[in-house]
Amino acid sequence: MLQGTLSDFSLPDVFSLLALTKKSGALTITADGTDGRVFFRDGLICLALSDAKRVPLGARLVSAGLVDAGQVRAAVQEHTGDSVAVTEALMTLGKVEERVLGVYLREQIIDAVFELMRLDDGKFQFDAAAKAPQRGVGLSVVEVVGEATRRLEEWQAIHRRIASSSAVLAMVPSAAGGREGVSLTAEQWEMLSLIDGRRTVSDVVELTGRGEFATCRVIGDLVTAGLVQAKEPSEQTDLAKLIAAREALRALEDVERTGRITPGLSSAAQLTAGASQTRWVEPPKAPEPQPAPPVTRMPSRTRTAEEPSEPTPLPTPASGTTTQDAAAPEVAHSEEPPAPEAPLDVDRTQVARELASLGADDVAAPGAPADLARDGDLSKGLLLRLIDGVKGA
């Protein structure tokens, strides 16, 4: 049996030996907290997992809209604990073209080898009796190690921009684009949609299903562009500071306006509570089922069990454009399918406020929306000026 330590033999050396001897089987790499596996078929790498307990290919295929999350869960449950069987099952799902599947599988293999090659120490062991996938791509060691090495070099630059995988990601309240505006690729936009001021780098990597390198490269670009901050949990992002400052200001405004403190009540909710009249009357009859009562549309609402959870669109590795269906994080081997992420309406509201602030700061007068908090001093004279102004516009 071939076995040893990574301090004596580097992974590329071990790979080369297995390739030269056209071996089939599985090379297991065990290090602190890592249980990776690289599968060989006649000396070619046909599957690699940086964490053998997970099936990242499932997340990739779901993210790309090639299979649905339910199919992946069924495959995982049917082949619990057998990465190869799960992967082979995924290959037959959704009528995915062999060529398309090959692209995702190649990305998966290189991502995993890239992560394993970052290990400083650990043990390896080759099991020639282990079953390797009998279909799918077979990549040469030269190709895989070459691409992983290139990524390792780029990773150093990415790492400088993103402190660690535990760093919290937040959009900056004032974008660096100024009057020129901000241009984003579809890939960057999709990434921004997952950044909510609470999720960490590793959370976002899991959600995208695209692997650590590809995800962190986009995040790194957003950090370099001055649109996103990556801060350790102990540090406060500019967004968190801004929200705290605005909440404090809002509390003061409420005290000034009402003479009392109304903790936990949003201004929208206060508007609702204060609404004394309406110009809207119910239609006499509705041909369609009636929508939920208006109160359920409040920004801070909690989604009910009957409502479908909103899918988070995810990018595809090939085009970077949104496809469809639910965001499935990496699927872990488990008897129970992973629970869907709970909707975070508070997060969405924060992001929405942040976007509103960005718009005002970049395009018009800084702080304009803050000045628009309430319009309580309308007068006839002001209206007449507005009317004259619009007429002459």
Binding site: A268, W280, M298, T349, A356, D362, A364, L386
Partner: protein
């Protein structure tokens, strides 16, 4: 017409109008037509059932401005049309003096969605509003819309072309006159 450059450090008194309505009703177009600054549109490519209707949709807001004088500016906020972005509606509604409900008069479904949106805005803020029927010049359209939406008589309903500046000005003026009437109605009657 050349767009004016936004003034940094603008300290003019802002007045706020919200332009709301269903997906694809023409809200962004209306704001773009009248705004003196390049409208900030936070649009995203459409990837779901609405994909056939148009390429992008507003996901956070549209933001435009019309200077009134040296001390006053009218700000126009367009809401996202798709209901899955409705968490933005309440935020944008804060402090508005009134709102415009845009409806694509050629799309039957637009009226159903408008009814939902009207209900929301009427509940969170008791301010005047007008209904603008886009893409139609049919003189009977306002009456039909009024019946369809069960609007009370004092709600103004007009036809408009969101791409025509004069038409957009007419919509805004209707709303401002409605707000003026509202203020007058709240004033104590002269003895």
């Amino acid at each position: 017409m050349a767009k004016a450059v936004a003034r940094k450090g603008d300290t003019r008194r802002p007045a706020k109008i919200v332009v709301t309505g269903p997906f694809g009703a023409g809200k962004t177009s209306l704001i773009q037509t009248i705004s003196e600054i390049e409208v900030l549109s936070t649009e995203k490519s459409v990837s779901d059932r609405d994909a056939g209707a148009k390429a992008g949709t507003t996901v956070a807001m549209d933001f435009g401005r019309l200077s009134i004088d040296d001390e006053l500016a009218l700000y126009l906020f367009g809401t996202p049309g798709q209901q899955r972005f409705d968490f933005m509606w309440g935020i944008l509604a804060e402090g508005m003096l009134g709102f415009v409900v845009m409806i694509d008069a050629t799309q039957d479904a637009s009226f159903d969605e408008a009814a939902d949106i009207l209900r929301f805005f009427s509940d969170v803020a008791s301010v005047p509003f007008v209904v603008a029927l886009n893409k139609t010049a049919d003189a009977d359209a306002p009456a039909r819309a009024r019946r369809r939406l069960a609007l009370v008589d004092d709600v103004r309903v007009i036809t408009c072309d969101a791409l025509d500046r004069a038409s957009v000005k007419a919509v805004l003026l209707e709303l401002l006159y409605a707000v003026l009437d509202d203020i007058a109605a709240q004033e104590p009657a002269a003895v």
